[in-house]
Subunit: 233 residues, 2 copies
DNA sequence: TAGACAACCCGTACACCGTACGTAGTACAC
DNA sequence: GTGTACTACGTACGGTGTACGGGTTGTCTA
């Protein structure tokens, strides 16, 4: 079989025993990348910029991270480490899941680039495993199969990501007055053709859905939790 | 105010009246891009490759599409045009929504790059509007507000995307035996530390969840539809 | 009908990206 | 002391999106 270095970053030891002591660390690199992503978005994260921020040569990073993709894994797991989970579930499933979800949305609001990454690049670093473990602990009393529980976990996680991504999109769009004006013009003219009567009715119904984001999220997540707790399969 | 060309592509006329007749069209460019994305993934779509496939100069594309982002809008709307929706809902809400969802997952299986794009870049081209209109028609009898219905639509759509993306991830991971082996090694060693008892239990429970994908999807989407039809807010 | 001008077509060029490769230096294993 | 595994990183390559400018073509105005 192949004796190559493993592709999975969690299988590579961070530190070897032979050469000089490394001047940096995976954690520091990930932290710098996260700061960059927070400030400039995912597209603003480049190996050169990270290296510059760390005062290192660009290619030095590749001693710590074999590919940029793996850097994303590190970033995601660092964010997953921000969840503050109690050691033991309280016993109130609904409350525990709601709290779990709120931790998630909070982390993703701090780091708006996370949902896009989580959805397209699921990874299971130590911190992600800790989150999964907690979810399973909350569901421990349920008679559902392990596989079904994992499915439900994916669903909860995905829903949180989806919501966070939606919020991020809203924020981005809301920032540009021109964009909003153009969208209104376009939708107005589309509706005016008469081809979309129901759409017209929906828009005419007074758009007063700009409630407190936390309330919207709680309502949304309550629905998802309903669904999880009602699951039989 | 500004007299600039609108940023929103649906507000730009496809064809002007002054110069020579264009040799290509937005639709042809989008179709080429879609073929490329289907074959090589989103990352394989570059302006140069599209132009080459069309037999055009790279920069010529920019007469049709002001930025690459807008090309994505065109691609997504072309995919949205693949939904085969009846002129009128049947009257059976659950059946209509289930059919709608099945159309969605089918389109996204044909074009595995769509969910990532839809989630991060919602756009409302004519075909997307048609889909929205159909959903609202299905929900016409419901007393919910227009805003709530739009939220529910976003939720249904998002769920479909999420599922499709999850499937795409599975397919990609399943393709590499090495990757699967490494993941198993890693999870095994993680579980062996004893730090994740519930995770261990979930894995120990015999992973026989590899059912028919259609059945899994139908089960998943049935849950989401339950949630939509039960909505009161 | 003359000519202005808008829109098409596209080659060149620039800034930036991820990263392969090679070299130099360092510290532990033998 | 020597070999060797490791860190550090400059240079370079092939790719990206797209700004710019010039040549061409068709239509609308005078």
């Amino acid at each position: 079989m192949t004796n190559e270095r493993p592709e999975l970053i969690w299988l590579r030891p961070e530190r070897a025993t032979r050469g000089p002591a490394p001047a940096h660390s995976r954690a520091a690199i990930a932290a710098t990348a996260i700061a960059l992503a927070d400030a400039e978005g995912l597209a603003g994260v480049s190996m050169r910029k990270i290296a510059a921020a760390l005062g290192a040569g660009t290619m030095s990073l590749y001693t710590y991270v074999p590919k940029k993709e793996h850097l994303f894994d590190l970033m995601l797991d660092a964010v997953a480490g921000e969840w503050r989970l109690p050691d033991q579930p309280s016993g109130d499933q609904r409350a525990d899941l709601a709290d779990f979800a709120r931790q998630g949305i909070a982390a993703m609001r701090r780091h708006p680039w996370t949902p896009a990454l989580v959805l397209t690049r699921p990874s299971m670093g130590p911190n992600s495993l800790r989150c999964t473990e907690y979810f399973l602990a909350v569901m421990a009393a349920s008679p559902l199969s392990g596989g079904t529980k994992m499915e439900l976990f994916a669903m909860l996680n995905g829903s949180i990501c989806q919501f966070a991504q939606w919020e991020a999109n809203q924020r981005e769009a809301g920032g540009s007055a021109q964009w909003q004006a153009e969208l209104a013009t376009y939708l107005g003219s589309a509706v005016a053709t008469g081809a979309y009567p129901h759409l017209a009715a929906a828009f005419a119904g007074g758009e007063t859905t700009d409630m407190d984001p936390d309330a919207v999220f709680d309502r949304f997540v309550a629905r998802v939790i309903d669904l999880i707790l009602a699951a039989k399969g």
